[in-house]
Assembly symmetry: none
Homo-oligomer: 224 residues x 2
DNA sequence: TGAAAAACAGGTATTTATACCTATGCTATT
DNA sequence: AATAGCATAGGTATAAATACCTGTTTTTCA
């Protein structure tokens, strides 16, 4: 198996971890880090401006979802799959959450790794993604299988633990009601509605209602 | 990466192919064929009676489904996953059918290979399945992703005469960009963006962006 | 060639949404 | 008994979206 040099990109907001990864990759001479970024939005911009694009992009999933001005790792994955399908996306995450994995794979990620994996697995995963187009380990496969099997018809209950009340408000939001109107409908304060909305934004990693609507549709909380 | 000897099993009704596989595996001394069978039912029987079980079981998917007294490859996979979950099932098939793959993976197969793959890939797949618990190549992953993503059926655009520019702005809006950001991206004024948005609201009969997003999804202007 | 539509830009004003706080009563779990 | 999550409600800000206006320029097309 020949291993030509793989052009790497790293998307990671924590500079320490980013430099750490770079250092690790530099130990082997068949990895060349030619691209790096600290946040999701600049990734797309930078990629559009450069002719030299990475073969494999390591993306930190934990790109801050609490900061709504940023892409979440999932959103970035979606954007990358659409705009730069030739770039292989390998997601790094601290989450061991089934739903995160499956959402990512569904939306175009080529591989998934938890951050506490064996270092050698990173090399392995990068090479696999580069040469074969994908890397799925058994843990991820199990998640995929699980998510596919429990999909009987109308059953939802996937992704992010939305509380019943939050779901209720999400539904009404998707019906184009304003916070005021929702408050009136539910006999609660506008403040409370806004509180729930803010929680929803954080939980779903959205920047605004647009993201909430898409989330709701993806998760069958509202029908099309 | 250490490679201890892997105990192999082969389930294949065509004796010629079975012997062929055995011969290939014998070329490498880290594969030890300790189990073989020509049909599905006897596999379960034999496995129940022996204490020496294979680590990896190569299963030919084309096990005859016309004979109702036989397991099909799929049924066998299901039975194996239930009774012997510790045995890794690597499916070999002539079919390149998405649905076959996904059904198998859903039901517990640890890997999928088409028979005309490169011989070296068989070794690779066996080792991967044994050591990491799974083997999915890019072709299979694509099938999995394809089967999981709910795709809209109607390809044509109906409803409302949205201008190209409006559609552009609608797309970006759905990607959670604010009017400011869209203006910056398109090198136009925020006023213009808002003008387009207002036109969109009127044309689509929406009250706010929520309605725009739903319209965009319904009309395939954006993908889910 | 003349009318219509599209893209563009600007204004003023109000309404909504979002960010970031605190805080309390309730319930389930450990 | 302490912890955690939820639903509730409040405050103070700013950012963004929406509602109506006015225009100019270019393109498209009947």
């Amino acid at each position: 198996m020949m291993e030509s040099t793989i052009k790497m990109g790293i998307v990671e907001d924590q500079i320490l971890f980013r430099e750490g990864i770079k250092a690790i990759l530099k130990q082997r001479d068949n990895f060349d880090v030619i691209f790096e970024s600290a946040d999701g939005f600049s990734v797309i911009d930078k990629l559009e401006k450069t002719p030299l694009r990475p073969d494999v992009l390591l993306v930190d999933l934990s790109l801050p979802p609490q900061n709504k001005k940023e892409y979440s790792g999932l959103q970035l994955t979606i954007a990358l799959a659409e705009k730069f399908p030739e770039i292989k996306v390998l997601v790094l995450s601290v989450h061991n959450d089934e739903n995160f994995m499956t959402e990512l794979i569904k939306n175009g990620a080529h591989g998934y790794l938890v951050k506490d994996c064996d270092p050698s697995e990173i090399f392995e995963a990068i090479v696999a993604v580069f040469e074969k187009g994908s890397y799925i380990n058994s843990r991820t496969l199990k998640a995929l299988q699980g998510s596919m099997i429990k999909k009987p018809k109308h059953g939802k209950k996937l992704l992010a633990n939305i509380s019943p009340r939050e779901e209720e408000i999400l539904k009404l939001t998707c019906q184009q009601f304003t916070a005021d109107e929702i408050a009136e409908k539910l006999f609660i304060s506008v403040k409370t509605v806004n509180g729930h909305r803010n929680n929803l934004l954080i939980k779903t990693g959205s920047r605004n209602v647009t993201g909430l609507v898409i989330f709701a549709i993806r998760n069958n909380i509202v029908q099309l």
